[in-house]
Symmetry: C2
Subunit: 418 residues, 2 copies
């Protein structure tokens, strides 16, 4: 046991990202729930206070120009872009992840059917298949995905004359075909922490002539995504997990540059108009990423996110990934050492290429176990029916945290299950 403690201290001493912890407000607990809600970056409270008191309270409407409110969605998008491997001008921030899944998936179906009647409404007489056009009328959806993606995908399918086919990511290559319009996939599974093969699956979807939408909620900010490099079509993600934007901070939408002029949003609000203050009755979409905007941006949440993203200045995602893998490796090692054999089973792949930044352990009475862990100062979360979920945010979690978490877990499990 003391060997692991001294190893943890050595690893912390060698950690080039260790200094970033000071940029967050943390307490004595080991916080391993940053994959649900990221910790508060120290820069946020002062920034939000300035936004409220000076920008809103004093400048009021002048802030739409003078404080950069109007351009915040694309400006903050450009701040997120390098974290997901995107060049500037392709990411826009706003709305919830669910709303962005809807935009992206309907957009993908319309891209697939472009030239043959954009959707069911535009070609109401076309009968089955008229929706996606060109005979493409099926959306493949990761069946293991976070449920909202499936619910929204079903709505997108229904409203574009498509059908939904639930598959696992492994089944995607075999399920692709001439009927496939779009595929919605999760980069990292929210439950198991499994990392899926974004480059390989994207290539397979493209080979079948379809379009892919990646949900990056559980990967962005924890590992390199490489959207541009791998030719991803569209992507969405939240900002309140590894990006620490705050509770319900706005999500983002990526549309690859060469698809932007054909991106046809199902939510063409006035913020996406080429001339939003022209107040014209005809809709003319803006060019670029801001075509993905909808209504007036929620400035308080959005500018809190902007302040939160400043911790990333000069932090390479590759270093974050290296530390993330070291943290989860060390956690698995400590769990193997501290937890009596057979009490837990890891759902998270051992192979680095298949692991996100979390470890999911299955055990009986997991809800009760997590309650006791939290009482003992180790905060993860419970996912029904039997999963203990531990997220490792490399910006503020250290190796001593990891050792302590595993040690407390061993104690709790011996108490509850032993």
């Amino acid at each position: 046991m003391s060997e692991l403690i001294s190893r943890a201290a050595e690893l912390d001493a060698a950690d080039e990202l260790a200094g970033l912890r000071e940029k967050f407000v943390l307490d004595d607990a080991v916080y391993l729930d940053g994959n649900s809600l990221g910790a508060l970056p120290a820069a946020v409270p002062g920034r939000v206070d300035d936004v409220v008191r000076r920008q809103w309270g004093s400048l009021r409407i002048r802030s739409w120009d003078e404080s950069g409110w109007w351009t915040a969605p694309e400006r903050i998008g450009d701040r997120i872009a390098p974290l997901v491997g995107a060049a500037a001008g392709q990411v826009v921030v706003g709305d919830s992840t669910s709303v962005n899944v809807f935009k992206a998936l309907v957009g993908a179906v319309r891209l697939a059917g472009a030239g043959a009647g954009a959707d069911a409404g535009a070609d109401a007489g076309g009968g089955a298949g008229g929706g996606a056009g060109a005979g493409r009328d099926e959306i493949l959806v990761d069946a293991t995905t976070f449920p909202t993606d499936g619910y929204i995908a079903a709505s997108a399918a229904r409203m574009t004359g498509c059908s939904i086919r639930p598959v696992t990511p492994a089944e995607v290559p075999g399920a692709l075909g001439p009927r496939t319009a779009a595929v919605l996939l999760n980069h990292v599974d929210y439950r198991t922490g499994r990392l899926h093969d974004l480059p390989g699956l994207t290539a397979a979807v493209h080979e079948a002539g379809a379009y892919v939408v990646w949900d990056l909620c559980h990967s962005a900010g924890a590992l390199p995504v490489g959207l541009d490099q791998h030719g991803v079509d569209l992507a969405v993600g939240c900002t309140y997990k590894y990006l620490n934007g705050g509770p319900g901070s706005p999500a983002y939408l990526y549309v690859r540059r060469d698809l932007q002029s054909r991106f046809d949003s199902p939510l063409p609000g006035w913020n996406s108009h080429a001339e939003p203050f022209g107040m014209r009755s005809e809709y003319t979409p803006a060019s670029g990423a801001l075509r993905g905007r909808v209504g007036t941006p929620d400035i308080l949440s959005m500018l809190a996110l902007e302040a939160a993203l400043e911790v990333w200045d000069g932090v390479p995602v590759e270093s974050v990934r290296a530390k993330s893998l070291a943290l989860t490796d060390f956690f698995l090692e400590c769990v193997a050492s501290y937890v009596p054999e057979g009490l837990v089973e890891s759902l998270t792949p051992v192979a680095h290429a298949e692991r996100g930044s979390q470890v999911a352990l299955r055990c009986p009475d997991a809800g009760d176990v997590m309650k006791r862990l939290i009482e003992s100062g180790v905060v993860g979360d419970f996912r029904s029916p039997d999963v203990l979920r531990f997220g490792f945010t490399p910006l503020y979690v250290g190796f001593r945290d990891v050792e302590r978490a595993a040690r407390v877990l061993g104690d709790v499990l011996r108490g509850v299950l032993g």
Copy 2:
């Protein structure tokens, strides 16, 4: 001139709402742009700081329960409900106005077609008209409306197999017919300040067997709406104008209680699931107003709004309306006195029954005139091509403000146009 000044002082002295001004952060300017962005309520900065530092920074994920984050959309909806004449349980807060227009209008079309194939996707083989079912395939949209409503309505029509027909509110009764599925109307016109006949138009839509969606952006918080009393089907509105929720604060959706079980949202995110944490792959909608929720609520913006709404405690909307009409009456009187004849023309109806809480004046060089007004401490806004827009928020605008605004306007107009 001095007669108007002393009249203003008398009116202020008799104003039972005058004390509410202290609950806002204001400066020496006359702020007549609360119909664009409401002034900062004094309770907001402290509340937001608590949300950021304690609820997020210290309690973190525990706040979803302990700080009431999870239930905020319906709790704050219930706080807005009496301001729009709705009993509890029918209003939910979240997303932008544009997104809520989409939910409401698609929902209305589906209500109209219920029992005959809910939309184009569900009945892809049905051909033209299969969208709304029962032969109802047309959406009437107020052609004078704020543009985003028209853009979103066009998308809702396209995605449900309907067509759009732009009409003025006055043309609605004549345009209604057996093909009408839904009608989208603005309660108060954003440009002219004209108040439309919500009870009469709602009754006409119902007589034609269609469903009505009212956009309350420019009426809620300034005058009684009476949603329940007049049997309105669905309504949406923003919260950053007369409700003072802050820049881009979340909008709201009203679905009348007896329609809720048939309300079929096009954005069925996990927050609207009957059991959101069950993480089930099948979608089962929640009952009640929260069926209108979508994704994770933007807590910072939402709880700022909640604090902002506290100024309404014990304030009857009827008193607000009485003061609003007195303010705009007095403004028109002062303008008639201070502005040389023929320099401006009012677009706002004189009849109380047709007037919202703003006055729109048309004049040449309106953009330049507004710039000089703002430099002289009178803040309204300019709407292309030739409109000076002045909004009167009865909670914090007084009669001396009104007199001063008209007097400065006269000075500026004589300088620019005289």
